[in-house]
Amino acid sequence: MLQVLFDALSLGSLYALGALGIALIFGVMRLVNFAHGDVIAFSVFALLWPSTDAVAIVFAGHLPWFLLIPFVLAVGAGLSVLSEIVVFRRFRHASPATMMIASFALGFVIRYFLLMLFSSRPKSISLLPALSQPVEILGARMPLLQLITILATIVMLIALSVFVRRTRFGLEMRAAAENFTMARMLGVRANRVIMGAFALSGALAGAISIILGAQTGTADIQMGGAVMLMAFIATVIGGLGSLEGAVLAGFLLGAASVVMQTVLPPEARPFRDAFVYGAVILVLLFRPQGLIAARGTKERV
């Protein structure tokens, strides 16, 4: 039972971090950033030296952990900010649908850039191998990484919520999320807030890439896709634009996935995701606005 809880929390953490990254950007500029998954992949590949050989040439991946983690977070944040400056800034007055298509295009550009440098063959890396040790907690035996993932996610969520609630920048961000035009009129600097949101979102993508990289030992140009899809669904169930909702829904999705895997009979298990998505549809039928609707997205008369 405890084991299931830990499994659910660790998978949920991953989805929650992803959902938060998407919700942050959606909050400030109504953009569903489908390039987020590719930022995750890019952050992992940043640890490798470009080569199309089967064996990965580890480069920055050799850094000690206290340098490696900030490095990956910075790469994620950097790429995300860059994509804002180069691409999304030009689309600021475009419709959300246009921006979404632009984000798909950007995702393709990033993915094919990686394909060009690294080829399509998944690369193996040993990222933070010390985390692959089993540990025992309250009778549940699990990889240390699972525990660290849960703890790190909780720490990041607390830090982020303090940042959003207690700092001026966080206040501006929340104001912008609620009513962007009004916030600008009241003196919130749009570019700064949006860039901040992209940087945070990119850093979260970096965090996911460290966890995924350490867990799977693999760098694959498509690796961000699955998490991105789940994260996007989590932001929708959570209520688009609502940060708390995204995190909550991320954890719920992770839990639903683990519980389905555990309780479904063997014949039904291959269709686990169908059951998870079925649950998603049910949630949306009863709460189309999401679990925690963002105030800014409600229809006003």
């Binding site: 084991q3 299931v4 830990f6 499994d7 660790s10 998978l11 991953l14 050989d53 089967a54 064996v55 990965a56 580890v58 394909l115 080829s119 399509s120 063959r121 998944p122 193996s124 890396i125 040993s126 191998p129 985390l131 692959s132 040790q133 089993p134 035996r141 699990m142 990889p143 240390l144 990484l145 699972q146 995924l212 867990q215 799977t216 030992g217 693999t218 694959d220 498509q222 690796m223 896709g225 699955a226 998490v227 789940m230 996935s257 683990v258 895997q261 555990t262 063997p266 298990r269 291959p270 686990r272 995701d273």
Partner: protein, 399 residues
């Protein structure tokens, strides 16, 4: 003088455009043409290229030894761009260039469009390394073959070998449902398991190749009263690395069996000091193949391409040209019907990578000699050799 120079110029021009107008050139030069409708770009390239390089080595050997039926083998290429629609076009393009035999992408789904194009033109086609029964008579048609061995043979080989040589009795089956290849391995395992004395299935579970975590599946294994002797993992890259890493990180030390798709040392850095991991391989890329000719082939491959073969999927390319050329030689013609008939007569035909058999019902291997590669303390090496006692029956293959 001027006239001669003009003629020389024209024939040089004719040579230069040969690849475009292969059909004409074939008549003119009398060459036999092998067309590669394979991926030169996109993700399949990583899988097609090594096998194609190996095929080229065999073609060069044959040409150096005087060619086939006294003619040189010429190669034409078309890029499928790892795209199914482009695959059909690439097939047409090499056929237009006069291909007598069409080599198509490694994977069934990506190779089939070009193979079907060849089939409808009545030409022989070979999948570089497809391991589904569909890559042949059942999926494409009577002129289609695969150069590799059925996935089911791999699962059956590992189950029987682990049972006979490692004393494994409790097996756990962990299937990755993302690809048909994986199901093939587990189908072979499912067929073999009931035939093994005292062997039983301790449990089973499924996952998906891109699952971010298989923690729930691992918890189920750990909940068993006793750790299974062997985990039959039916998966491929990159999910395989992730699964193996997570299984070991959770402290499960059962021996892990998989299909050939996880051969190679390139991924081992992800799971430092991995032990008790076994896969079947057609030949060794580690320089320790019991057959010295395979090691010599590896050296030649390195000389041609600059690096050692990364995985055993290099070898089917060589086998493919080898068996096809023998069939052409025996048929005394490149007529597709005659070549197919000769291929179908092959029963335990010796090749560098084990005997090969084709029948009118099956253009694929339902039984094959496999080397067993073990990973011990993070180092791979060949430890044994195994051929399943019975060929995998059609019912198990068509499941």
């Amino acid at each position: 003088m001027t006239r001669t120079r003009l003629m020389t110029g024209l024939s040089a021009l004719a040579l230069a455009v040969t690849p475009m107008t292969g059909a004409l050139a074939e008549d003119a030069d009398g060459n036999i043409v092998v067309g590669f409708a394979t991926a030169e770009t996109g993700f399949m390239q990583a899988y097609d290229k090594p096998a194609q390089d190996a095929a080229m080595i065999r073609i060069e050997e044959i040409n150096a030894a005087g060619g086939l039926l006294g003619k040189q083998i010429k190669v034409v290429n078309a890029d499928t761009k790892t795209d199914r629609a482009e695959g059909a076009k690439a097939g047409l393009s090499v056929l237009d260039a006069g291909a007598d035999m069409v080599v198509v992408s490694c994977d069934y789904d990506f190779g089939a469009p070009a193979a079907l194009t060849a089939e409808s033109s009545g030409k022989v086609s070979f999948f570089l390394c497809a391991e589904s029964i569909k890559a042949g008579v059942q999926g494409v048609g009577p002129h289609s073959f695969s150069a590799s061995v059925l996935a089911a043979v791999q699962g059956a080989t590992m189950a029987q070998w682990a049972h006979e040589k490692k004393g494994a009795r409790d097996f756990y089956r962990l299937l990755d449902t993302s690809y048909v290849y994986n199901k093939g391995i587990c189908d072979g395992f499912d067929w073999m398991l009931p035939t093994l004395a005292d062997a039983n299935l301790a449990g089973e579970d499924v996952f998906k190749n891109d699952d971010a975590s298989i923690a729930a599946q691992i918890s189920r294994i750990k909940a068993l009263p006793k750790e299974p002797d062997a985990i039959m993992l039916c998966t491929m890259m990159p999910g395989a690395v992730s699964a193996i890493k997570q299984i070991r990180a959770a402290g499960i030390n059962s021996m892990i069996l998989n299909g050939s798709a996880v051969d190679g040392s390139y991924w081992l850095s992800a799971v430092p000091d991995l032990s008790d991991f076994y896969v079947p391989v057609q030949g060794s890329v580690y320089g320790d193949d019991p057959n010295p000719d395979v090691n010599a082939f590896n050296a030649l491959y390195k000389e041609k391409t600059g690096s050692d073969p990364a995985t055993q999927y290099t070898y089917p390319g060589y086998v493919m040209i080898d068996v096809w050329a023998k069939a052409v030689e025996r048929a005394g013609s490149i007529d597709a019907g005659a070549v197919v008939a000769e291929l179908e007569k092959m029963d335990g035909e010796p090749t560098l990578f084990g005997p090969r058999t084709f029948t009118p019902e099956l253009h694929h291997q339902n039984k094959a000699r496999y080397l067993i590669a073990e990973v011990k303390d993070g180092k791979p090496g060949i430890v044994d050799e195994w051929t399943i006692s019975e060929p995998v029956p059609m019912e198990a293959l068509m499941k």
